[in-house]
Amino acid sequence: MRPGITAVLAATLLSLTAAVPAPARAEAAAPADRKPVTDFSLPTLDGKKVKLSDAKGKVVVISFWASWCGPCKQELPLLDAIGKKYADKGLVVLSINTDAPKTVAEVRRVVKSKELTLPVLLDGEGAVASKLDPANAMPYTLYLDRQGRVAHTHEGFQPGDEKDIEARIVALLAETPAAPAQP
């Protein structure tokens, strides 16, 4: 066998065997198994800047999307509605748009036409997507618990997923009570 093939096979086997058992479908990873995500800061569509750490102590849902992605445009209004419904319970929904220069002009139109009120973060260079969504799956959603650790990830959107989305969020919100507001 040629060295190139050996190296590729070795890398494949190494990475496959490195897999650890995954949490059961639609159930959160046990808190002890959850890992934090690194903080990031991105500009928003309306000209502000948002840092992930601004939502410290809250359950955070991060959804990667693009204006040309049909399932994303189906999922976003549902996430927006869920975000509003549980905002006072400590939920923050952040949508991260990854449109390239060619299509970024479409982003605002999608947001306005869907009457979305959630923060739309712009990741034109893919700086955050390359760390949190390296496969560039679309839509790709991460669910973070109040400690900023990943409890769930989900790729794609299919009819029926909206029930799972809400169930995951409700379970994460119920895990620990919201920290008392600082004076």
Binding site: I5, A11, W68, A100, P101, K102, S113, E125
Partner: protein, 501 residues
């Protein structure tokens, strides 16, 4: 310098893993293919097997993030010697944030403005990925962002359409940018960079180089109804013994009033070209910019280096935005100073709808596109598309995606299209049939049929198997087009995400 940066990155991964509150994640994609005769009358791309491995490891601890991409390809029984067995460390980076300062060493993507003079980013669908390998420093106090960067271009060593090995371009770049964001009222940005090509066009003429600068002003939200973006760029270029200057102007105006929305785009690019070194033996021309094209994302377009044009898109949202008819008109002119400039017109319209409380959606569109030059029509196309997801009882859904293009090229008619129809079951996967047709080349295969099975095995593992034949052709994504050969054979793909630590 590069090796030192890579060594720093390599050292930082275990350091990240050893620290408190660390996370190390992997993302793996494994593709196994066997290619049968794809009917293109070229035997060199038939009867061979491929193994493609893509492994991404990302680790983070406190203020440090580090990552690496390990990629590899192996070929079985491939005739063309440009299919090269190879395994390599494709990307590596370490990023450290201290207050308002972020330092990056290794590979990073870079874009200036709307990508007219520089855009190094991923285009996954086309297998393109160019980074700058070097270092950068970002200082972002409050409303200001200062950034400087330098490095050499690092092109992905594997070309997805041809499956050929791609030699490195390794062109050197350095630049900086400043952005001012003023609490949502206005954003201002300015930037500049210079690039030197590793391989000169004419060795006796010395190194080829490009310098560019530009700036933008953006009003992201005027009275909650209007957004305006204006960008201007300048470029100076030396190629061989020729020196040229180019300029570009790009603007968008986005109006949203109630349910009505209007998006206007204007583009003027006057001899702006950002290419990398020509590498011997490679069919690829390295493009370091992705300017807006005014076309749809998946639409082919004429060269975007000397062009002017505009487009207008009007839409109205009914039923809380759940029903939205739209029309779009685009006019472009390539090489306007030439004796016979190429004029392009593209008009299309359609309707987007979501229903059943968001569980179902449909997008139906159709249009007409025409190219004329010297008063004669050189190319035309009538097209129609549908993308339908219909929720069915229980956790099932019907998914139909189809497009058909009736084209004329230099007075010859041909038809090209594809349709994918399938049933999906939530949390499980889907079963689809893909049918394609392409009559452009009568001596080649014109009809294609493939079956696709997708299986969401777990939350962290997705599997996909494709068997049969799939249409090739020009594929355009995000301002880049590549010609893909047809595929006939069997393909297996596994994508997994794992938390290692």
């Amino acid at each position: 310098m590069t090796r030192r940066a890579l060594a720093l990155c390599a050292l930082s991964l275990p350091a990240a893993a050893a620290a408190e509150g660390t996370a190390v994640r992997t993302n793996e994609r494994l593709i196994l293919e066997y290619h049968l005769d794809n009917g293109n009358r070229d035997e060199t791309d038939d009867h061979y097997g491929t193994l493609i491995e893509r492994l991404t490891v990302t680790g983070s601890a406190e203020n440090l993030t580090a990552g690496a991409d390990v990629n590899g390809e192996a070929f079985y029984s491939a005739e063309d010697d440009r299919h090269v067995n190879n395994a390599r460390l494709e990307r590596m980076f370490a990023e450290y944030t201290l207050g308002t300062v972020t330092l990056t060493a290794g590979d990073f993507h870079k874009q200036l403005g709307r990508g007219i003079v520089l855009s190094l980013r991923k285009v996954d669908e086309l297998g393109l990925d160019t980074t700058l390998q070097g270092g950068r420093m970002l200082w972002a106090p409050e409303d200001h962002e200062f950034e400087v960067f330098a490095g050499r271009t690092n092109v992905s060593a594997y070309d997805a359409p041809t499956q050929f090995y791609v030699p490195e371009a390794s062109d050197v770049m350095a630049g900086g940018s400043y952005t001012f964001r003023d609490l949502g009222f206005m954003n201002l940005g300015t930037y500049a960079y210079t690039q030197r090509l590793r391989v000169p066009l004419i060795h006796e003429a010395g190194f080829d180089h490009t310098s560019a600068s530009g700036g933008f002003v953006e009003f992201p939200d005027v009275l909650d109804a209007l957004a305006i973006y204006v960008e201007a760029d300048w470029q100076g270029r030396k190629s061989g013994e020729r020196r040229t200057q180019g300029k570009a102007f790009y603007s968008t105006l986005d109006l949203n009033l109630g349910g009505f929305s209007a998006l206007a785009e204007g583009l003027l690019i006057d001899d702006v070209k950002v290419q990398g070194s020509a590498v011997e033996g490679s069919p690829i021309v390295f493009e370091y910019a992705q300017p807006p094209t005014l076309e749809r994302i998946d639409q082919e377009f004429e060269p975007n280096t000397d062009v002017r044009g505009a487009r207008l898109r009007l839409a109205y949202g009914f039923l809380d935005g759940n029903l939205s008819p739209y029309v779009n008109v685009m006019l472009r002119q390539n090489e306007p100073e030439a004796d016979k400039p190429l004029n392009q017109l593209h008009g299309y319209g359609g309707v987007e709808a979501t229903y059943q409380e968001g569980a179902s959606r449909v997008n139906v569109s159709g249009g007409y596109r025409r190219h004329t030059q010297g008063g004669e029509t050189t190319k035309s196309m009538k097209h129609g598309e549908i993308d339908l997801v219909q929720s069915l009882p229980g956790p099932h859904a019907l998914h139909l995606t189809a497009n058909e293009e009736f084209r004329t090229l230099n007075s010859r008619d041909y038809v090209r299209g594809s349709a994918i129809v399938g049933v999906e079951r939530q949390r499980l996967g889907g079963l689809s049939v893909e049918i394609g047709n392409d009559t452009q080349k009568p001596r080649e295969r014109e009809f294609f049929v493939a079956g696709i099975i997708t299986w969401e095995a777990t939350d962290w593992l997705n599997l996909r198997t494709t068997g049969g034949s799939q249409r090739g052709g020009l594929k355009c994504v995000g301002g880049v087009c590549r010609d893909f050969p047809a595929f006939t054979g069997l393909k297996f793909e596994a994508t997994g995400r794992h938390d290692l630590l």
